[in-house]
Subunit: 92 residues, 2 copies
């Protein structure tokens, strides 16, 4: 059964997330799913491309999907919509 690992992109420097992806692959994951929301979406694409191009020539992008997440706001109880991306990296 293929082992899947998830990396959620936040406010840290992009190389932290590149390292998280590489670590997951080296620990045996056959797929790493990179997820991001809002302004971090650009960083998610950078991370996937750096992993694939610089560190793991045997990795490839299997799937990219975009969507909208609804976030519950604590004050007032309204909701906010934010764009999201999911990039599935696999080993050949």
């Amino acid at each position: 059964m293929p082992q899947e690992s998830a990396v959620l992109i936040g406010m840290k420097p992009q190389m932290n997330y590149v390292l998280a992806c590489l670590t997951a692959f080296h620990e045996g994951a056959s797929e790493v799913v990179i997820k991001a929301r809002g302004q971090s979406i650009s960083k998610a694409v950078d991370v996937a491309e750096i992993v694939r191009r610089k560190f793991m020539p045997n990795a490839f992008v299997k799937e990219v999907s975009i969507g909208t997440d609804e976030i519950l706001l604590s004050e007032g109880g309204g909701t906010k919509r934010i764009s999201s991306i999911m990039i599935r990296l696999c080993k050949k």
Copy 2:
């Protein structure tokens, strides 16, 4: 033959690009390809999601792909790598 139109995301407000997509569909395009590089990638996802969710419930994301573009720098003649995204929106 399906007519394809391209919208390149830049520094303008996101609603300009939403309007460009809607105009292309209303002028008869069956597919609109949204392209962006670097920090504009997040805006490209926002634009696709706004078109699909708010204005055209009959539109759907047919394909998303990511890649790396090499840009020739004018001074020195070196190249710079920048991440890119392509989002293909279609009418049902």
